[in-house]
Symmetry: D2
Subunit: 147 residues, 4 copies
């Protein structure tokens, strides 16, 4: 699937599971963060390789912010566009826009940002990004893509 | 809290979270197995000690069966009674009855059983239970308690 | 995707989310039931139409049983084959086999069955299946498919 | 339980379920928002009454922000202090501090804020808060409590 004319790793299509819908009949607000987790994995995998070990690698979530605009329902068709806003020595900001199909066109359903911190688990403290992470990010490019 | 005149480790009170309720307005059928997981932890902790490491210990779920009778709703008051039916050399059967308060009395909402297998993770195969597990189980006693 | 030479509605490919993996490093035993929920939706949708309302329709889970054989890991490639074993006047038994790719071939990872009951929510009791459910099931055929 | 010398409705004790722990061995970042959901319910229940219908009432999550400081582990003892920062005509800001016990003292594990919007589901748009919500909030008081 090729949406928005972007690389497929940058456009994640979440499966909206029946159980993701809460008692209010919409995707629970917490579940978006699981979708973002998958979006990041999808985004970084081609950059860092399938064997990227998410536990060892020490990319830790330090902050989230999200604005919900339009609720997501069970049969909705959803896409999440992910990009990197900025990479620092020990942190990185990822950003997302969540779209859903409404009467044939994509509507912005939510916007969010995550600050990720590079963490050395054996030393128990933040550490500079590995060179391959920085290179991959720079090669891909920063900021919201045009689409 | 002392319900049914049983040891508190044998009567687990699940928190019914808003997110546990699915689009049908009831606790999702899968979520019961998370309640049972907590019931088992609650049951075994006083027997095996707080420091019991659930990952290392190698108590693996091999089988579940469950009969749902009455759905659980958001504000329901729920208790899960847990016991051990039988302990074999490498396996064990736990059983549960789920009750909810309805017009002042406890109603059976579900019944379930779990077969647990003792697993040696370093060897990658089932292994006999550690002596302290058997002893703890025997000390506690087998079968559905009277209540 | 066409796996096992079966209709695509009968072969569900679950997304194994990072969050589906529990502290033991494997898909949590409860999460399988969410995969089965999606498998059933995928199975019934072409039979009953996209507009099938899962809340109104009153297909209620009355019983599950499952045998776990091989744990599912984060990057595993998984397929769930679903079929109907039997349809009664007010109940139905669905069955599943869960496979994962291991060194190039599909390995049976779990087997399960679900008893579904037809429920009239306005009357608050089981009710005979609607004619279109029976017809759809009969048209599709009963029992484990050859594959 | 009376922690921090605050009303019990303002100090929520989440159950840290085994399944809340993800493959990284810590409470998944998304799960905090389910804890906050329960914190809000616990906070508002004595103010608005047990029969407060969370679906009809139209308190919709419009925004979250969270800073994670110290990860939460399986056996951690956790408290979440909740308060209202501000109430507008159609929105409200709730704030939370998450503490965990570490070597005998409470350590700040996360801080978060949620913007809630009053929503009239039948009209499909934001609406002024019901008078009893405003009164309850004013009676309770705004801002981070001293503790």
């Amino acid at each position: 699937m090729q949406d928005f004319g972007l690389p497929s790793s940058q456009v994640y299509t979440p499966e909206i599971r029946f159980v993701d819908i809460d008692a209010a009949g919409i995707v629970n607000n917490a579940t978006y963060f699981n979708y973002f987790e998958q979006s990041r994995i999808s985004f970084f995998e081609p950059l860092l390789g399938k064997k990227w070990d998410w536990n060892a690698a020490g990319m830790v979530v330090a902050r989230h912010e999200i604005d919900y605009r339009v609720p997501i329902l069970f049969n909705d068709d959803v896409r999440i566009v992910t990009w990197i806003e900025h990479v620092g020595t020990k942190s990185m900001t990822a950003a997302y826009e969540v779209f859903k199909k409404k009467q044939g066109s994509w509507v912005l359903a939510a916007q969010a940002k995550t600050v990720l911190v590079s963490y050395n688990h054996s030393e128990g403290k933040p550490a500079p990004w590995a060179a391959d992470v920085i290179e991959a990010a720079e090669g891909f490019g920063y900021g919201r893509p045009d689409f």
